[in-house]
């Protein structure tokens, strides 16, 4: 197995061109139409956007439902969605639309936001670059993770799941090429990453790997 190539990334958000949504129906209609990049951004890239890490919900739709529509039921239903378990973003979109349609059929009045609380649809461009750093053996992985930037953590742990092998972080994929690393791979898979900020996740990955032995 070759060295682990440490990449870094920097993300820049941009407007999507979609009009802002002021109520639940508009949110539903815009989600039905928006590009996959918009969907991915609001579910997965929030960690790299300069905004507060909402402690209740990590995806923007759930946070908006709670904070601007005041719809706690919807926020809970959207908030529990793990975008990484879907085989592709269209399946994720289907699931979100299903929840929104169900909610729209339940409510007597379509929940709306106050002026200033509109949902703005954005997306991002990510620039990825090679840091020039390499990890030669699994033994060196925890220490290397401990010094990675937020961008590197994001790229290797989250963004990796969009790439082949889909749904797998880069660390696990790399460890899979070495015999006897099953414990570490399993340990990485048990990390409940949803509630971590990137700096917290870095610490958690180091902690989890620190507990396992290296063959």
């Amino acid at each position: 197995m070759g060295d682990f190539i440490i990449q870094d990334c920097s993300l820049l958000a941009k407007t999507s061109g979609l009009p802002a949504a002021i109520n639940l129906r508009e949110l539903r209609d815009r989600i039905a139409l928006c590009s996959q990049d918009v969907l991915y951004h609001h579910f997965c890239e929030t960690l790299l956007v300069p905004s507060f890490d909402n402690p209740d919900y990590r995806n923007d739709f759930a946070a908006w439902a709670l904070l601007q529509l005041g719809d706690r039921v919807l926020a809970e239903q959207l908030g529990i969605i793990n975008p990484y378990i879907f085989p592709d973003l269209e399946k994720l979109r289907e699931q979100v639309l299903e929840i929104l349609d169900e909610r729209l059929s339940e409510v007597i009045f379509v929940p709306s936001c106050q002026p200033g609380g509109e949902f703005f649809f954005t997306e991002a461009v990510t620039v990825v670059f090679d840091t020039g750093k390499r990890i030669a053996s699994p033994k060196a992985l925890p220490e290397a993770i401990g010094t990675m930037t937020n961008g590197s953590i994001y790229y290797h742990f989250f963004e990796a799941r969009r790439r082949e092998p889909v749904g797998v972080d880069d660390f696990s994929a790399w460890l899979g090429g070495f015999p006897g690393q099953e414990a570490w791979r399993l340990a990485l898979q048990t990390v409940d990453f949803v509630f971590f900020s990137l700096p917290e996740l870095r610490g958690e990955l180091v902690r989890v790997l620190g507990k396992g032995g290296v063959a």
Binding site: L12, P50, F52, G116, V125, V127, F129, T131
Partner: protein, 412 residues
Amino acid sequence: MTKFLSSYEGLVSATVLGELRQLGNRLAGKRVVHVNSTREGGGVAEILDWMIPLMQDVGLKAQWEVITGNSDFYAVTKKFHNGLQGFPVTISKREWQTYREVNEENAVRLRPILEEADFVVIHDPQPAALLGLCPDRKGKWIWRGHIDISRPTRSVWRGLRPFVAGYDASIFSMCQFAQPLPHPQFLIPPSIDPLSPKNMDLDPEELTRVRHQYNLDPDKPLLVQVSRFDRFKDPLGVLEAYRLVRKVQPVQLVLAGGGATDDPEGQEVLDEVLEAAAGDPDIHVLLLPSDAHRTINALQRLADIVIQKSTREGFGLTVTEGLWKGKPVIGGDTGGIRLQVVNYHTGFLVNSPEGAAHRIRFLLHHEALRAKMGGRAREYVREHFLLTRHLREYLTLFHILGSREDASIIYI
């Protein structure tokens, strides 16, 4: 003062600085020209003052050019500014002509520099017409709108849009501030420089000196709002909130601002504030000179709670400054304050003097929580609103615009 990236070691992690150098290395030698309308005064000049040397430090050939104009030109562009922010103004044909002429005069001087540059960043509407006056441009041109143009006076935006539409990209501080344009619109919030006189660490002796200078009582909790005397900053609402708090506990208030003398409405608001504050020794209305950065810094550091009770706000860098000093901020529930103030985490958003009073009392009552929120506030700014993030996003933008790929992920 020349600034180097290494000066920020310790304030941000070494990995963050390394990341900037890596992004910069891949742009080494690229010529970047920023153009605005003033070398001193105002937020844009403050940003460019640090951004140019730091861009140079990471390898770019960055320079800063300033357009010059007569008083008629600045009268027009002031009208642009007001009109773009939604105030009803009318721009005459003669005024549009003045705008074009001044840009033409500047283009004669700037064309050779701008047409050769790899990236040109034009700040705000004043120099926006330069794009059309540089037909042989080689690089990418970016228009950076620093103000909120979400609800402009239509006639003003209709007149300006043709000057802006031809750019390769534009930048806004928040998506709420943008207008539909036929090119990508990137979102880059502003930032603060932690080493500037307004934000640098100060000796305790200096804080004591400022406390004495303004007769502040060390034994009474201190509330501080720093802002222009402007109705949208709601200084009278802050006074009302203060009075509601004072009914139940001793407290003192500083309302500090500057620049009211050249703004007729500012003077009017200041007069109203002085009248409302008259006779109360615990209210300190301070009209400070525009270069009183260290005094403002000290007042924010002396505060127990920083207030920015705006009813309308752009991004609100005074909020960022307060958070950076480890103070919870009670801010108006509007604009960029919402990006920064999060209930129970970095402060509280409020919608009325009563709401502000309630949250002031809550925070004064919960000293430990106040300290905890202040700590979180500082880390939040460190993570998101320091100049290092700002610089990284500019470098990222240059990579995106310089790439031949039109994809959501670009490998460089």
